[in-house]
Symmetry: C2
DNA sequence: TCAAAAGTGTTCTCAGTACACCCATGG
DNA sequence: CCATGGGTGTACTGAGAACACTTTTGA
């Protein structure tokens, strides 16, 4: 009949797909989407790369656990964090007990991404050229990428890759990197300005070899109105510097 | 550091928000969105209405568990089932141990909804006029309703409320009920026909007090392409008749 | 022949796109 | 003064909204 107080027979974990823009040496200045992965140090899939994550602690909210575990493993503090999907198919962890993973996706600013701890067991990979990952993590990353691209087109998340002030060219570069195609500068400018998501400041970026572009800032007063009626929890975890 | 093999300190359950269109006596033929709820028979929130659901069984996929528990409690078989969100805030189950709920939302055809078991502990409610529910279920229903409305505008889920053959007026009535506003019949027809989501049959619905409308059917050959790269699992649970 | 819904045609608006062109700065 | 990206103007296109109009049935 209805729910008994049996224990659900599953381990509950939280993982996060972290996206940042990085400029590869090869791609010569054109930023691309990268993500940090951690190497597994035990079976199953020992030695394989996997999404950062960990178990949910007592009294810890899901979003908080996502932010905490990603910080523990990569040292990063995300500027955007959103739940992606709960993966719980019975066969996703062959041999071992079934794990239900509540997966989040996160964005980090480029400056923040520089500071990330890298080492033997943490490394960055281009999002559309990954090795074979542990568990079903390849599928998960694909889905997260799809969500990132889809949401980029109707939402305001691009700002989460940038700092406080930015030029429209920088904002456009974010869109281009995520969508993987060039955008018309003139039309992009008009679309963004019409949306009211950014506000022009009276500052300009100097030192360029051409006309100095105006700096803009994020317009906080605009309601996102695209995440549905779920209560906002924009920054569930304000970084704990080591 | 990374995930230990500790047990996550949470009970894992699956619940479902079930939507169907019903024609109230009061609203005189205009269908509205309704949903079935079950009455809780133990603490916490004993006596309150709640979403149907239950614990996840060993070796059972999440979507399957959603379809099974909703069938167990309401007797319904959904024509559409999709994951909504994982709710796991530490304080959502006051007093009791924290429960992480993976919530699904489902659509059932009107004929199927008629057959639903109703009784002392199962009843239907209009979706936008609910009593105070157990746990955070009011918020969950609000979110599911938002998803239903959002998805209705760019996807093909409306068919899940109807049978094999239907008129465009019936399809339009589904949209109108979900969106809560009237739509222009002429423009609706053109939009739907242009989308290629339905195919005209050479049958007509007779017995109307006016010109008999043509019957259409769902176009299976069109890819939805709106759910992202997640593997399809359209009908995880093919009803188990009691 | 009339009411009512099925179905068609026409126009308007607006967002997105393509692309020509001027502006301002460092070298 | 010139190369380069910043920034503006303008025209084209397609989707959606508004609404007038014709068609086909039962009563």
């Amino acid at each position: 009949m209805t729910a008994r107080h049996e224990r659900a027979s599953a381990i509950l974990a939280v993982s996060t797909v972290i996206f940042a823009l990085r400029t590869d040496e090869e791609t010569a200045g054109v930023p691309q989407v990268w993500l940090p992965l951690v190497r597994r140090i035990r079976e199953p899939f020992e030695g394989r790369w996997a999404l950062p994550g960990g178990p949910l602690r007592v009294g810890e909210d899901l979003a908080y656990a996502a932010a905490r575990t990603l910080n523990d493993t990569t040292g990063l503090t995300p500027s955007y964090l959103e739940q992606l999907y709960a993966f719980g198919d019975a066969d996703r962890s062959p041999g071992a007990e079934r794990v239900v993973s509540v997966v989040y996706w996160a964005l980090v600013r480029s400056e923040e991404a520089e500071r990330a701890s890298v080492g033997e067991n943490v490394a960055w990979f281009p999002a559309d050229d990954l090795p074979e990952l542990a568990f079903d993590h390849n599928v998960i990353v694909q889905y997260a990428l799809w969500r990132l691209r889809t949401k980029m087109e109707y939402s305001r998340i691009a700002h989460a890759f940038l700092g406080e002030r930015f030029t429209l060219a920088q904002l456009r570069a974010v869109h281009e990197a995520v969508l993987g195609k060039a955008l018309d500068p003139a039309n992009f400018r008009r679309t963004i300005e019409a949306s009211g998501t950014v506000v022009a400041t009276d500052e300009y970026l100097t030192g360029t070899p051409h006309r100095p572009p105006r700096l803009y800032r994020y317009n906080d007063s605009i309601d996102l109105a695209d995440a549905g009626p779920l209560p906002r929890q924009q920054h569930p975890f304000e970084g704990r510097s080591a």
